[in-house]
């Protein structure tokens, strides 16, 4: 019951409040808010930056989700083996997760710097030309996506690692006796048994794809010319730079609908296809 109260006060009530505000104009100085119906949503349809942010966000999600899950799984399988320096490797993979995003973004800012940045130095040693990664519209989104994947993968690796270690070792012995290849063992035994973990990671990953914008503040501020802006960043700008709370509420509703939709889809469709023991 107390949990429900907290949920009501800090989750459900704000959502309803936001929905209400999204149908109202933005109060300014002497002018109070008035009911404007769907006008804020109409404005959204005509807002090119919104569409740009939405497409960018879909690309961002489309890239970060498979990449970070794939990378997390590979790293987990790798550090689950008995290899020298295993603890050190695990720690190294997990470090990005521990660092604050703003600090991480500042480090990456210097990786991406043209002329003397890390990428540039490696690139020029290999004979590639100079490139302004964050400053050109064609690569800015890719560059911020990479930072997100790098940041997330280590975190998801921990879940996979825990799941892998809870698998019964006799399964591996049985497979070895049967003469199954490693790939076969992974595909038919480990992967299905990891499905509950994958579902959990997937949900987190989808949420993160719409939630992670901290690095944009440091790296690109959505630029150049909105090439790397994401929905939540656009929402922040509208809400706290432009102070257009009515329109910001409408944008919030869009993000809520996207996230609730994704979660419902995962719970009701994917959940059925996952084996829990």
């Amino acid at each position: 019951m107390p949990a429900m109260l907290v949920l009501l006060a800090f989750t459900h009530w704000p959502v309803i409040g936001t929905l209400w505000h999204s149908f109202q104009s933005t109060p300014k100085g002497g002018r109070p808010a008035v009911w404007v119906g769907m006008e804020n949503y109409q404005v959204m349809l005509d807002d090119p930056v919104f569409w740009k942010a939405l497409t960018n966000n879909l690309w961002f999600a489309g890239a970060t989700i498979p990449l970070s899950i794939g990378l997390a799984l590979t790293m987990a399988l790798w550090v689950n083996e008995r290899i020298a320096g295993r603890t050190f490797l695990r720690m190294a993979y997990f470090t990005p997760t521990v660092l604050p995003m703003i600090a991480v973004a500042n480090i990456w800012l210097f990786f991406y710097t043209p002329q003397y940045g890390l990428l540039e130095q490696v690139g020029s040693a290999l004979g590639f030309g100079s490139h302004n990664w964050l400053g050109s519209p064609s690569t800015a989104l890719g560059a911020v996506t990479l930072v997100a994947v790098w940041k997330e993968a280590g975190f998801f690796m921990i879940f996979y690692l825990a799941a892998l270690q809870s698998l019964n070792p006799s399964l591996r012995e049985a497979a070895a006796i049967e003469g199954a290849s490693r790939w076969y063992f992974f595909r038919r035994v480990q992967w299905p048994l990891l499905m509950p973990t994958t579902l959990f990671v997937l949900i987190n990953c989808v949420i993160n794809a719409f939630r992670m914008v901290d690095h944009l503040f440091v790296l690109t501020r959505g630029g150049p010319d909105n090439a790397s802006t994401l929905l939540l960043y656009h929402l922040y700008e509208v809400g706290f730079s432009f102070w257009d709370t009515g329109y910001a509420s409408a944008l919030t509703m869009v993000i809520i609908v996207v996230l609730v939709g994704a979660t419902l889809l995962q719970f009701f469709v994917l959940d059925r296809r996952v084996h829990y023991r």
Partner: protein, 429 residues
């Protein structure tokens, strides 16, 4: 049972807060003061020192300085607090936030509090260039405090290597282009290893753009903040000049990061950079070569935009608190303290009287670079600001970045920005 306890606690809290409210009514005037930190240096320590000194001289007032983050974070906090009914009494916010704060009905003009001739003389003591961003409609809404301007830094060593006079900076666009061409170096594979000139364009490109539009004799917005002139041929010409520097290969391509620009300068990747006077202390400490500080090169005229923060007084505080805030702003901007503030931070001192103090005079003799900003002030213009400021600014920024990355021509970019700005400002006509 549990609910009872809850209600009792509530009642007790209400009673208690009521009592404290009563107690406060007789205590000294509480002066909450938000300030941002935007440059390096011991800002917080200096501010705390100011607060203590002020309280010693004014025992009836209790100043509580609150560090509130960057400029953007500070205005978010201050406006949110204003909307919930409990704003700080005074805050240092960007001078360009003036129209936004007026639109939100959040601030009161300083004129109401200037009663004595001495008060009026104080309000007239600031540099005109700084007041341009602080006054509109015949009222003074902000008092200049931590103000800056854009200047040019050049690497004297690289000038010597390129066969240029290291003590003579380019003063016109033609000279700048000429020097930058000589200062650009390429390696055997044709890759540029050193750019002649670098004007950053991330985050707030409009501000740096003003270092080109002002010399080209164009003013981007009217004083009332209701109209912009992005599609003026002189503005387009200025943007064309910027884009052409990149096309000629003497300026880094694409959007140039503001944050790494001083570092590019230290690493000798750029021989001339445009950045704020606020970076002076940073560059003085980190450049391992002899450098010069100069005025922004002119074209049809000379000039650069001012920038930085002003004091504002919030409307929803008591008259006694507002009086106290006025007193505090006046106290802090007195010549000796403005001089101290300028030396410790690199900000421009806000009045001529401050530069006439013996301390700042001596500092200027030992380190003449600190005086360039002051000498540039007579030709400086207001930082771009309008109603719906951040939204109009974004339209301009997006257009500038589109032109610099080559996705639009300068003409197209400025016409689109003009159209967007006209749409945003339509209700202010």
């Amino acid at each position: 049972m549990r609910r009872n306890t809850f209600v009792q606690t509530l009642a007790a809290t209400a009673l208690l807060s009521g009592l404290t409210g009563f107690a406060q009514a007789q205590a000294p005037v509480d002066l909450q003061f938000y300030y941002p930190v935007a440059v390096g240096g011991p800002i917080a320590k200096t501010i705390d020192g100011f607060a203590e000194g002020f309280m010693k001289e004014n025992p009836g007032i209790k100043v509580t300085p609150i560090y509130a983050g960057t400029y953007q974070e500070t205005i978010v906090k201050a406006l949110t607090a204003h909307k919930s009914g409990t704003p700080p009494v005074t805050s240092v916010l960007l001078s360009t936030d003036m129209f936004t704060l007026i639109d939100e009905d959040a601030i009161v003009p300083f004129d109401n509090f200037a009663k004595t001739p001495e008060d009026k003389a104080w309000m007239a003591s600031f540099y005109k260039a700084f007041m341009a961003n602080s006054q509109t409609g015949g009222k003074t809404w902000g008092i200049p405090f931590q103000r800056s301007t854009v200047v040019m830094y050049w690497n004297k060593e690289l000038f010597k290597e390129a066969g240029l006079d290291p003590n003579k900076a380019p003063t016109t666009w033609a000279e700048l282009k000429d020097a930058a061409t000589k200062l650009t170096k390429k390696d055997a594979s044709g890759k540029t290893t050193q750019f002649g000139v670098q004007i950053p364009s991330s985050g707030f490109p409009y501000w740096l753009f003003q270092t080109l539009t002002t010399p080209n004799d164009a003013i981007l917005a009217n004083d009332a903040g209701t109209q912009v002139k992005f599609d003026d041929p002189k503005v387009i010409e200025a943007l064309q000049f910027w884009v052409d520097l990149g096309k000629a290969g003497i300026h880094p391509p694409g959007v140039v990061e503001w944050g790494t620009t001083p570092k590019d300068f230290f690493e000798k990747k750029s021989a001339i950079i445009y950045t704020t006077t606020g970076n002076l202390t940073n560059i003085k400490a980190n450049a391992k070569f002899d450098f010069g500080v100069g005025m922004i090169p002119g074209n049809k005229r000379k000039g650069s935009p001012t920038g930085g923060g002003n004091f504002y007084i919030f409307k929803k505080s008591t008259p006694a608190q507002q009086e106290a805030a006025f007193k505090f702003a006046k106290w802090v901007t007195q010549p000796e303290r403005a001089a101290q503030w300028s030396m410790e931070t690199g900000y421009v001192a806000v009045s001529q009287a401050a530069y006439d103090t013996p301390t700042l005079k001596k500092y200027g003799q030992d380190f003449p670079a600190a005086l360039v900003a002051r000498d540039q002030l007579p030709v400086s213009v207001a930082e771009f600001s309008t109603h719906e400021n951040q939204r109009v600014t974004k339209a301009l920024n997006d257009g500038l970045q589109a032109a610099l990355t080559g996705t639009k021509t300068p003409t197209q970019a400025m016409q689109d920005a003009q159209k967007e700005a006209d749409r945003i400002l339509r209700s202010y006509k």
